[in-house]
């Protein structure tokens, strides 16, 4: 049963991805990429990752589509026509083959005795109840057991925002005006 649901969702994802890549108009592509994120969120839900599904639906299908649409209003609406590139296709096929060989060494899908389920995860699940008292294990691992990691990720988000504001933020009125005048000089 699980196989049918997962395989159907992944087939949907592949269909959306191919259709997005074949599109010439960038608008349709961006909307399809939002749909991709939404279906991916459903797949995460089926795979028991409720928090991840929640985030993917809010971030992937929401915010990143909005940002892509804002970008589209400033760039040409259509892509230059391309034929299928042989060398990249060959490279992608080879990489896929190598990855498949590597993946075939992994434990069976869903096996409860796989190494990753037997080392730290049981401690997290037991400790979350006894030492932290938070029922949602993901929250207790995120904020308490792996607090350093989350602090690092928050700083990355912070840095990315500063970078975007420096690149296109128009930090102050005076600075953007000087930027414009130099651009005009360059163009003239």
């Amino acid at each position: 049963m699980g196989f049918i649901i997962d395989a159907t969702l992944i087939a949907f994802l592949a269909l959306i991805a191919i259709s997005a890549l074949r599109r010439k108009r960038l608008f349709g592509m961006v909307m399809l990429s939002g749909a991709f994120s939404l279906v991916a969120a459903t797949l995460f839900l089926v795979l028991d990752a409720v928090d991840v599904a929640f985030t993917e639906a809010a971030v992937g299908a929401g915010i990143s589509t909005v940002l892509a649409l804002a970008t589209l209003s400033l760039v040409p609406a259509e892509e230059k026509p391309h034929s299928i590139a042989i060398v990249p296709a060959f490279l992608a096929l080879t990489t896929g083959l190598l990855l498949s060989i590597a993946v075939s060494d992994l434990p069976e899908f869903g096996a409860a005795d796989a190494p990753i389920h037997n080392h730290v995860a049981p401690e997290f699940i037991i400790g979350s109840e006894e030492k932290i008292g938070v029922p949602n294990v993901v929250t207790s691992v995120l904020a308490s057991y792996r607090g350093y990691d989350t602090l690092g990720e928050t700083v990355v988000v912070f840095t990315a925002a500063i970078a975007v504001l420096l690149i296109i933020g128009g930090w102050t009125r005076r600075e953007t005006e000087t930027a414009e005048s130099t651009e005009d000089d360059h163009a003239g």
Binding site: A17, L21, T71, H82, I125
Partner: protein, 128 residues
């Protein structure tokens, strides 16, 4: 063959991953590259989440019943933060695309390389 069937999820995810990878390296349009990168990224997330799945398990939210089997929460935490970081870095990418469009008036990478080569040739001609 049994092992292939037992790992079907990983193989399907790798196909998705390679679709995104092809878009990143084959397409000249930068917005399309970013979308390809997003597909690639989401597929990697799927690979991680697949590894955390336990058959007949449930979401890692404690029910108080000791016989419940939970899926592994660790990949969920890693991917949860990775998604938010991913959108922040994607935004930096789009910001750079906007600046490139304003400077070169195109976002096709071959055209940009041509423009840069012309610029270089012109400046070399001036120097000699």
């Amino acid at each position: 063959m049994t092992s292939l069937l037992a790992q079907w999820n990983y193989f399907l995810v790798i196909i998705l991953m390679m679709l995104g990878f092809y878009a990143v390296i084959a397409r000249g349009n930068m917005v399309k590259k970013m979308i390809g990168l997003n597909i690639f990224q989401t597929s990697v997330f799927m690979l991680y989440i697949s590894m955390g799945k336990v058959s007949n398990g449930t979401a890692p939210i404690l029910t108080g019943d000791s016989s419940t089997v939970y899926s592994n929460p660790l990949p969920h935490v890693l991917i949860l933060t990775a998604i938010v970081v991913g959108v922040a870095t994607t935004a930096v990418g789009y910001a750079l695309i906007i600046r490139i469009q304003e400077s070169f008036n195109t976002i096709e990478d071959d055209e940009i390389i041509e423009l840069m080569d012309d610029d270089e040739a012109a400046s070399e001609g001036r120097a000699s």
